[in-house]
């Protein structure tokens, strides 16, 4: 019976990590449903971006208040995780505060003291975050796309953090030996008087319970990630690594179009000749995107990375002037549709069965897509380099090239370009008239 806690702990750890591995596999599979795009170039620049933007949070702090609070929670999260390592070793081998013996009382006290201070700072930051989301009437937290689950998701994450931090501090406050040693109990020494009337045995039970709930809570949280916007804590790293490195104004040139245009412009090409390379039943490549599988894997990774902060939407000229377009909603819709496709595959033995739905119209409407000015404000704002604009353009491409469904005025503009080489109906012969006008 002596080993029962160790066995239970190993079991909990195995189940927690096992489920997490399953989630990660699903995540990979879904992201890989996207089209191939080469992001193997410029490895050093990519690494630099990842270190600067994801690890260094450089784009977060452009908005000082929320940026600063986020850095606290982020640093707290990473550093307090050293404690989790100790918990795991203690749990598996039945030791107690194993690091104390390894690094010595003084250094150990310094470490735990740091964790305690961070824990209290995280608690304060999380309370401010909660207030901003629920009371402060900040416009980007009131958008229609946040109604329902997204709002609950955001609050749940905050509650999780409150509980985890409180458990950590309670655990330290009720650890008699730790309090008696008096090194590193910077915050918990003020909490321990709460437990003054308790017997040694009860204190031990509370300490053990806090310890167990803390680690179990972490395992639950780890598995909650996949179902939450909170995935960004992991995906921010690959997302910033694989992000577009070209100038933001550069839109990709569709190679499938280049092939056809070259053929059209080649005077030697025989338009009636059948290509010898293509087989009979080849489906012609679709232009643009109407569903998530038409997007690239980077765009799908973007969708899973988005944590719905809404900085994009709060800087979008269309959204600021009351149009339906919200870049954040573009990302949320892409993720939700991708999840739907993934679940469909899970239910049908790994193969997608047509559900009569797609990203276009069922999630994102043409009205949203046509409101975009392609100004790149959303791309610039995103703290983790998500690119909503590329999805908007790919979907416009589908509307125009596959469905001829551009707004009437844009069709006129394009007809003018075709006929007289200008978006307006002026003769090309008048191109130089400005020379003689004053």
């Amino acid at each position: 019976m002596h080993y029962l806690p160790n066995i239970l702990f190993a079991l909990a750890l195995a189940v927690g990590l096992g489920f997490f591995a399953m989630n990660v596999r699903k995540l990979f599979r879904n992201i890989k449903l996207g089209k191939e795009v080469d992001r193997t170039d410029n490895k050093s620049e990519r690494l630099k971006n990842m270190i600067k933007i994801a690890l260094g949070q450089t784009k977060m702090v452009r908005r000082p208040l929320s940026g600063f609070l986020h850095v606290i929670v982020y640093v707290g999260f990473i550093i307090i995780n050293i404690e989790v390592l100790e918990i795991m070793i203690d749990g598996l081998f039945g030791t107690h505060r194993i690091f104390k013996g390894v690094v010595g009382t003084q250094l150990y006290g310094f470490l735990i003291g740091t964790f305690e201070v961070l824990a209290i700072l995280v608690l304060i930051a999380v309370i401010i975050f909660w207030t901003r989301r629920n009371i402060a009437n900040i416009k980007r937290f009131l958008s229609p796309e946040l109604k329902g689950w997204p709002k609950n998701d955001a609050n749940l994450i905050l509650y999780f953090e409150v509980v985890l931090m409180s458990l950590f501090l309670t655990m330290n406050a009720t650890d008699i030996h730790f309090q008696e040693a008096g090194v590193g109990n910077i915050i918990s020494q003020f909490l321990s008087p709460i437990f003054d009337g308790f017997t040694t045995e009860n204190l031990h039970i509370i300490e053990r319970s806090a310890w167990w709930f803390h680690i179990l809570g972490i395992l639950v949280f780890l598995n909650y990630l996949y179902f939450s916007k909170h995935l960004h804590i992991l995906l921010a790293f690959p997302n910033t690594y694989f992000a577009n490195l070209n100038p933001k104004g550069q839109f990709n040139n569709l190679e499938s179009v280049t092939k056809e245009v070259k053929l059209m412009m080649d005077p030697a090409a025989d338009p009636y000749a059948t290509s010898t390379e293509s087989t009979e039943n080849q489906v012609p490549e679709k232009f643009g995107a109407s569903d998530v599988t038409d997007l690239s894997w980077v765009q799908l990774l973007n969708a899973y990375t988005c944590t719905e902060c809404g900085r994009c939407t709060s800087s979008c000229p269309a959204n600021l002037t009351g149009k339906k377009l919200s870049p954040r909603k573009i990302m949320m819709d892409t993720r939700d549709r991708l999840e739907e496709v993934g679940k469909n595959m899970d239910a049908n033995g790994g193969v997608f069965k047509d559900d009569g739905k797609q990203l276009l119209n069922d999630y994102i409407t043409p009205e949203e897509l046509w409101a975009c000015t392609s100004c790149n404000a959303c791309v610039e704002e995103c703290p983790v380099n998500i690119d909503p604009l590329s999805i908007i353009i790919d979907m416009r491409r589908y509307l125009v090239m596959e469905k001829s469904a551009a707004p009437k005025e844009l069709n006129m503009m394009m007809t003018n370009i075709e006929n007289n080489g200008a978006p307006w109906q002026y003769s090309q012969q008048d191109r130089l008239n400005w020379v003689n006008e004053d």
């Binding site: 000229p317 000015t373 404000a377 791309v379 191109r431």
Partner: protein, 259 residues
Amino acid sequence: MIVTTMAEMMAQGKQPEVLFWVGAAGSYDDKAKKITRAFVKILQQANVNFAVLGTEESSTGDAAKRAGNEFLFQMQAMMNIEILNAYEVKTIVTCDPHSFNTFKNEYPSLGGKYQVFHHTQFIQKLIAENRLKIDETTLKGKRLTFHDPCYLGRANNEYESPRDLIRRLGVNLTEMKRHKSTALCCGAGGAQMFKDAEKGDKEVNVLRTEDALETNPQIIATGCPYCKTMMTDGVKFKVKESEIVVKDIAELIAEANHL
């Protein structure tokens, strides 16, 4: 005004130092034509050996591409590249950030590789080479704010060249609260120039004009013909056209130098 075309240059067996890509707005739109003429005057004052394509110029295809019509864009691009390469064009300057962007970033992989300048960059270069001076007395002390064109700023990270020229004009520059990388679009990009806006509670150009009005300017400067149109319309909407002028930096330099 005498402007040479590439065809005329070729007939004389000459090659210009730079091709001035006028663009559709610069060729046809009344407000933009003023930018075109101002820039030509600057080029001539600096004795730049330049040429235009004239009637051989066609749409870059930029607006079609932003609207999603990749076919039309690539058709236009390849036709333009054929002409530009036939004339052995090496350097292009344009007053339109949209043309600038597509030439610089999207033409190369289709076979059109040129050194591309936005006109503010080119004027900066002329000053650095001691070929041009800006008279800083004419507009001295005027209150000015600058609206960053998205396709120059965020799209290509060029915030400095227009500001460098503004400083040389001797004016008092006050930045809007949203400027440089956080600048608000004028509302014309992404082919919006050619269509009505979707339903909303305000026009984008009005919101941007309000940003500008907060700085209490006498001049709103831009570096893009479409921005100029949008901001001019915004100022009119606010009934401020008697107090505030909207001008391209090229127009301001031409004015400063009494061209």
